[in-house]
């Protein structure tokens, strides 16, 4: 139990390091399909609404609908707002979400997918074990 807690703290620190490195990035959230956060790292700049499961879960519906457009399975959705942008990536059974300033570099956020792939693999394995138990 203590080990799991330490590991989760380490993951959070890793995500915070990425947030500090990328200009305008406010939060990284790894959640399940229902928007329930598995792990998240956020600064005080992020709007509280963007961290709620209700907000994060809208991606599941969006990606399902976008997959019906005949362009094969949808992988990512970028939502631009006046002050913020939200980049969400489908990593079933997980969702990777970035909340950032609208001025932040969207390409860098999309590129973080490669960097976080190992971390997601670990979390996915843990989620699969939990589901099968």
């Amino acid at each position: 139990m203590v080990e799991a807690f330490n590991y989760s703290q380490e993951l959070k620190q890793y995500l915070h390091r990425i947030i500090r490195r990328v200009d305008g990035l406010y939060a990284i959230i790894v959640s399940d399909r229902d928007g329930v956060p598995v792990i998240r790292a956020a600064t005080e700049n992020v709007p509280e609404l963007a961290l709620r499961p209700g907000f994060l879960a809208t991606f599941s519906t969006g990606t399902d609908q976008a997959s019906k457009l005949g362009l094969s399975r949808n992988k990512a959705i970028v939502s631009m707002y006046t002050s913020y942008q939200v980049v969400q990536l489908s990593k079933l059974p997980l969702i990777l979400s970035f909340v950032a300033s609208s001025q932040a570099n969207t390409g860098v956020l999309l590129g973080l997918e490669n960097e976080l792939s190992d971390l997601l693999k670990d979390i996915k394995a843990a989620v699969d074990i939990t589901v099968s138990q």
């Binding site: 570099n105 969207t106 390409g107 860098v108 956020l109 999309l110 590129g111 997918e113 490669n114």
Partner: protein, 93 residues
């Protein structure tokens, strides 16, 4: 729609010493890539150009960034909201 851009990218690729070319917008979203220029590096390329520009905010012409390594050189320049990166073979000793 992007025929003109495709032609420029193809023409650039045919220049001597060029191994790859990439164009990105100011948000780092890739507009086109050829050769060994990875499309997922568009964000980093746009960031490099922006940071270089911030170093010389009063300069009339946008700066050209040159990244030199043993495996090759990358030339980056931002102009009119478009950032272009050209990947070249390594320069001689």
């Amino acid at each position: 729609m992007e025929e003109a851009l495709d032609k420029v990218l193809d023409d650039t690729m045919n220049m001597p010493g060029v191994t790859g070319v990439l164009c990105t917008d100011k948000l780092g979203l890739c507009l086109g890539a050829r050769g060994n220029a990875p499309a997922h590096s568009s964000g980093l390329i746009a960031t490099l150009a922006n940071h270089a520009k911030a170093l010389e905010a009063n300069a009339e012409a946008p700066p050209i960034v040159c990244l030199e390594s043993d495996s090759g050189n990358i030339l980056i320049r931002a102009k009119d909201g478009i950032t272009t990166a050209i990947y070249k073979v390594p320069s001689g000793p």
